[in-house]
Symmetry: C3
Subunit: 165 residues, 3 copies
């Protein structure tokens, strides 16, 4: 079973995804695959907030780049938090788009239960700079891939979720 929580910045998608996987995986401690790579202080502060929330509830794995490899080691339900940051890291490390999407497709074919968190970033005017446009495109393609392979998809806003699939 694969479930996607997609939404905007501070839409509550991470909290909703965490609550969901904890409810599902009542007995076992689920894995928490954190994809954040720390670039600056602002990001560090954000990460700390997330970390405090998940202490004791999850078995945390930190892996900003090699998502498939890290997930192959998980022996139980896993929360991927978040796909957007992983895409961002891949672009930063100059991985070609086709390779990124191929890795994501392989991830989605793993048999373990998975809850994925992803930012919807395309509901605005086209960005001024080429890198942002590239990211928006890749992000949307990744979202479509997840939308196709996931059994359930929730669109999040205001801390609430709407079922799309």
């Amino acid at each position: 079973m694969k479930t996607l929580f997609i939404g905007g910045i501070k839409s509550g998608k991470s909290r909703l995804a965490e609550a969901y996987i904890l409810e599902q995986a009542s007995a076992d401690k689920p894995y928490y695959l954190a994809t954040n790579e720390v670039f600056d202080d602002e990001m560090q502060a954000r990460i700390r907030v997330h970390q405090q929330r998940r202490e004791d509830l999850f078995a945390t794995i930190e892996e900003p780049v090699k998502l498939l490899e890290a997930l192959q080691k998980c022996r139980g339900p896993v929360l991927v938090e978040c796909v957007s940051m992983w895409l961002n890291n891949q672009l930063y490390h100059q991985i070609p788009e086709a390779d990124i999407l191929q890795e994501l497709e392989a991830v989605l074919q793993l048999t373990c239960d998975m809850v994925l968190v992803h930012n919807e970033v395309g509901l605005s005017v086209i960005a001024d700079n080429r890198l942002a446009r590239q990211f928006v495109d890749l992000s949307g393609k990744a979202a479509q891939l997840m939308g196709q392979h996931c059994d359930q998809v929730f669109f999040c806003s205001a801390g609430l979720k709407m079922k799309m699939k």
Copy 2:
């Protein structure tokens, strides 16, 4: 009863919220709490359009900053138009984020019927400038607070609403 209409710029959320509160409060004239603070001509023009639409239908109160104080005086259903602008004004007046969210929480605990209008601003890439990022974060936290306390939440696009809660 508290109801939130959340949506994008020109999504029709204000019209939908106005129509909704007028339908609910059939006998009484509801209050219209306008939070706009006029910064420039473009904003003045926008406000005028809103004003023309609400004449005779609402008892208008203009209060850009002291939301709780203004709402405590209302003796009937009130439309808060809009929370985003109030957040913006609070930031402009350098009110700390925690204080803003605390005031919003107090607002949501008032007993009067309330319809709140709010912009969803997080469905895009992360903004270039720090002030915009700060606003997006605050806006999302406020939206989550409203999503939690409101009895009904509608997501708006294309002049239509989808029920989230």
Copy 3:
């Protein structure tokens, strides 16, 4: 019957709209009204991807500006791909907003079956530059007009659609 598919960049709205019209118009080849005007290589590359997908399935008409005139000639179901680009072209050619919206309203009163694709661009902070703000406003007004006149409206994200109307 008029149907609107609204969503973000790379939300899958075009694919969903194409699949929908092809399913509806099972016997006849539907028209494909392409509104793209080629401004640069990046856009040319995007258009080519769309063209490859629709070969043999549609009778393509390319018309970046005179939408009403082009649609009046269609004798069967037509996919308008997309309204956002047409709005953009109209602004580029300095057509006043009122005239654009009037033409769109006339389009929506044509009797032929129509599937319209449109970008939701307002779910972000207000843009820095005036042209972008003007576009976001016009786009939202156009979306509201379509939301009002269409029989069905779908909001798209992650390659999936949610029915709004």
